[in-house]
Symmetry: C2
Subunit: 210 residues, 2 copies
DNA sequence: AACGCAGGTATAACAGCGTCATGAAACCGT
DNA sequence: ACGGTTTCATGACGCTGTTATACCTGCGTT
């Protein structure tokens, strides 16, 4: 009766690690159960006993992607100014874009329906969302509390920041943003959703970032 | 030697229409050559003679998606205030979101790597982009010329608007935006990238839209 | 210690996929 | 009317996810 994921099962973690490597190397299209199983030294049945099938494995990969994104967020915040500075929000945005560029296959699995039949489980989606979006909300809230940003609701502003950064990143990855000087444009654009809510008289985070 | 797409070939257009129907009904995962061929009353070879393979067919579907999006844009602008009013930009945003909700499978093909091996051809991507993004740039430029909006560059502001709307739409479709009252939030958020660049003293397009 | 039962694993098969080679049929210019 | 070219349908190949079957391993009982 006990069929909870049991995420600490070392065999599960090992298989997810192998699958993550295959995903990173061969892309979402090359992620096949036979390749993962072979590279893990077993048979495809392994995936079925541990994950119930490919969707289960991809679900674990989905979580793993958000876990890595959360790590990138954490590192970005550690290298950023202390809490209350809107530059921290920009740092999160750059970390987001950097993650998409470093792990485009993970990004596609998380946001782009890259694996044909897969839709993340509701609980997985909620948990993954919370682990990364919560950090952004907290960062925004610190700015509101410090008075360096003004907005009616922290979560709403965080949502808007996320959407802007995600849209820029997603369009850039799709090659639709326009090829001329993408880097500079994105760097400048990332300042807008923050500056738009900054009370006047404060120095902006500046377009000199990135 | 003549192997240009010849987009007016009625057989091509018919097959694209059938494929579009299969895509809309069964999703990107259910889009198989055998099903398209059967529904068109032929064999899979048809796709190879007309499109050179599945990527070619999907490439045509990609263009078709942007063509439909352009139509939605056109209709939205016809029902919007005359040129120069920033509300036209909002109307385009709502049309974009409406398209994503009406044709989610097309949206996934266009922006989300929904078909495993497919990447749009460079020329297809450029043409598709121009046909829809050009409209937005033009609409923004009219606002800049009318003085109802102020920004250093029309294309840059248009890019930012697109990214914001696309991010909101994409995250909403992925179920990651947050389930509580998505509609109202999106409606309000769509006003921000416009209001942020509006010279003070002008009445905003208001959050009462949508 | 030996047995029996349960669970996990590997093998092999099945249906479906995109793709391509083969033969037949149709079309078209000469 | 004929010869050449192009197109079409059929079937096969290798791949995919999934599943049934047989084996084998390990644990609890007697």
């Amino acid at each position: 009766m006990e069929d909870e994921p049991d995420d600490d099962d070392p065999r599960r973690r090992a298989l997810v690690e192998v699958a993550a490597q295959v995903l990173a190397e061969d892309g979402p299209h090359g992620l096949s159960l036979r390749k993962v199983a072979a590279q893990a030294g077993g048979s495809t049945q392994l995936v079925y006993t541990l994950f119930g099938g490919k969707p289960g494995l991809v679900d674990a990969l989905y979580s793993e992607g958000f876990r890595r994104l959360a790590i990138a967020q954490q590192r970005a915040l550690q290298a950023a100014p202390p809490p209350g500075d809107p530059a921290r929000i920009l740092a999160l945005g750059h970390a987001y874009r950097g993650f998409a560029q470093t792990e485009p296959s993970f990004f596609s699995v998380m946001f782009g329906r890259a694996v044909p039949g897969f839709t993340p489980a509701r609980s997985t989606r909620a948990a993954s969302r919370q682990s990364t979006f919560g950090v952004l909300v907290q960062t925004v809230r610190e700015c509101l509390d410090a008075g360096t940003l003004r907005a009616p609701d922290a979560a709403d502003l965080a949502r808007l920041c996320w959407a802007t950064v995600h849209g820029l990143t997603s369009l850039e990855q799709s090659g639709l943003l326009g090829t001329d000087d993408v880097e500079a444009f994105v760097a400048a654009a990332l300042c807008v959703p923050v500056d738009a809510h900054r009370p006047p008289g404060q120095p902006g985070a500046g377009a000199a970032s990135l």
